[in-house]
Amino acid sequence: MRYIKQLLFLFIAVVLFTACSSEIKSTDWVINEVMVVNETNFVDDFGQRNGWIEIYNTTAKTQDLGGRYLTNDPDNPTKYAIPRGDVLTSIKPHQHALFFADEMPFNGTFHLNFKLDPTQENYIALYDNDGKTLLDEMVIPAGIAADQTYGFAQDGVKHNEKGNIIATTLKRVTPSSNNAVLEENPKIKALAESDPWGGMLTITSMLVVFGGLILLFLAFRLSGSIAKSMTQKKVAQSGTLSAARSHSHLSGEVLAAISAAINELKEDQHDIESTILTINQVKRNFSPWSTKRQSLRELPR
């Protein structure tokens, strides 16, 4: 019963720790920044100015955009298939890909077959290779001024703490680069301001260290108790001297003294050696992985 209680406690502790960690998961790709009207801004490789769409790889791994679909039509998710096999669609961790909405798909991988319309709301979506799974979408309100962009202030961060989408007109236009210029680590800056003495971090960290090691302590206390009781059962069933010990609760030293005395008595009495000679083959288990002999090969002659 005690074990069950301890097991239950451990289970609850694990569940609580797991439950505390749930939060909104971000997708691997985010439509990060969009320019609808480009009059004096970024020029493409043909010297043209067009609206553009920036997609951000939110993960810590290099991902390929090839084979996915970009569209501005909710009824046609596969409107523009991003070509496969172009090394440039392989986007590094936390980096960007920039697509020009110029309706000139034959100008290259990054030129879409649609344009953005400044007179109305623009819907943009990115679909997975199956053309059905929506990876990300964004609605750009009508009336965004020329040479201004709409997107997220922090790269790939779509939601605020309440879970609301936080897309907005951005202060700076940053094609193919970070929307927020990080001059210093925000975590460290916030910590320096909120906890200048380091007391809170210390208390939090020590709680976590103790929490982790207390979990280990409980786990091994429990497994130790189970192991001990199982061993005692086995020993009790064996009918050996150890079984006598477990029944009598004599200390190891006392039993050792008794054993030594019995042995001495037997040594004095016996006249036949107890050694056994055998011709039986002694078995040694080995595998090709644990023996050198198996891995040696004959040299060619």
């Binding site: 200048p196 003495w197 380091g198 207390i214 280990l216 130790g224 001990k228």
Partner: protein, 385 residues
């Protein structure tokens, strides 16, 4: 005459490339420090496996040369041999490999047999956070303070791993400080152990630990990984390798792999790590006021860790039954300098009772300290990286 002038010109040019020409007082100071390390390792046998490579590395790193000549010999010159070897430190992949070896050579039986000793390993981590607070007050930024604080974990690989992420510019000072104090554990700890314990406490005899079954030993790395890494995933590199190494050892079916991990592999990495950390202490980057401050905080962190470990045992004893009491002399072993800290518990205990062998009991908190400092490093990484 022209030939002579040309010869003199060539010799003069050559002279400008020599170490004698480029030497500064800082180089000489660092070379002397390197020689002291080598002396301590050979004469006093303080952590020779670490101090010899580090000491010689300091000599290598402080051979003066003409940096403008682009000879590609310096550890900070991209593409040089030492720079390539140093990448294991900078990118932080030497320390997890060392942890693999530590896992494969560590017997956690003492901990499994008496799991309450794990808590002492947690208490000793106050050294890390005490040093963090002190470093903040001395004007270091939080990330730098975190890197300096980890010296208190008394775990060289962890200190290097964390510093390479949080404050790479302090790597040399933090690594040298951590390893120096690890080597000086026999000097630092005993006075505080005596100061904080009574004669009666020093002779407490602890129960002989029970025999631990093979199944329990196999379960330990699996459960240990799952519990600690789920809690602090940022410590995965260290914890994962530590417990993986231990499973290789305890599984009983991967003897060759375990032997490689705790033998040739860990030796190779120790050589490369020690040598390159030593070589990274070029006088121009190392001899600064910050380094002196780091050394001072490092010493304090070891003292705090030792004291909190001992005091925590005393606190635990208030709640333990008479026969279950723990000798406070094992409290110092909560710092993870394995096995030196445990050995100090043993020798100090024997001074007061020649029949009281504390080594096996001290190994419990000692290995718990390794886990605790890896967890603490993971937390620091989570908050400050």
């Amino acid at each position: 005459m022209n030939t002579l002038l040309s010869l003199a010109d060539n010799l003069s040019k050559f002279w400008s490339y020599t170490g004698f020409f480029n030497a500064e007082i800082g180089h000489i100071v660092m070379i002397l420090i390197g020689l002291v390390f080598i002396y301590l390792a050979i004469k006093k046998e303080y952590e020779p496996l670490l101090l010899i490579p580090i000491g010689f590395g300091i000599l290598i790193g402080n051979i003066p040369f003409n940096e403008a000549a682009n000879l590609q010999v310096g550890i900070y010159e991209e593409g040089s041999v030492f720079n390539i070897l140093y990448q294991g430190v900078v990118k932080g992949w030497y320390p997890p490999l060392i942890f693999l070896g530590i896992g494969a050579m560590t017997d956690f039986s003492a901990l499994i047999a008496n799991p309450k000793l794990i808590l002492i390993g947690a208490a000793a981590q106050f050294g890390i956070f005490g040093a963090y607070i002190i470093a903040l007050q001395m004007g270091f930024a939080p990330n730098e303070a975190g890197a300096i604080g980890i010296i208190g974990g008394a775990d060289g690989p962890t200190a290097i791993f964390l510093t390479s992420k949080l404050a790479p510019h302090l790597l040399g000072a933090v690594a040298i400080s951590a390893y120096s104090y690890m080597a000086l554990v026999p000097v630092i700890q005993p006075p505080f152990m005596r100061m904080l314990t009574t004669p009666k406490e020093r002779v407490i005899k602890m129960k002989t630990p029970r025999v631990v079954s093979q199944t329990e030993k196999i379960m330990f790395p699996i459960m240990g990984l799952l519990m600690t890494a789920f809690l602090v995933p940022s410590g995965l590199a260290l914890l994962g390798m530590l417990f993986f190494g231990n499973l290789l050892k305890e599984s009983g079916v991967t003897r060759r792999l375990a032997e490689t991990a705790r033998g040739p592999l860990v030796d190779t990495i120790t050589i490369l790590l020690g040598l390159t950390v030593g070589a990274s202490t070029q006088a121009t980057t190392f001899l600064r006021v910050e380094s002196v401050k780091i050394f001072a905080i490092g010493a304090l962190s070891f003292v705090i860790a030792t004291c909190t470990g001992i005091l925590f045992v005393k606190l635990m004893n208030l709640f333990l039954k008479k026969g279950d009491k723990i000798n406070p002399l094992v409290g110092n072993a909560g710092v993870s300098a394995v096995p030196d800290a445990a050995r100090i518990s043993q020798t100090t205990g024997l001074e007061y009772d020649p029949s009281n062998y504390l080594l096996m009991h001290a190994m419990g908190p000692n290995v718990a300290g390794v886990i605790g400092s890896a967890v603490a490093a993971g937390i620091m990484l989570g908050f400050l990286y």
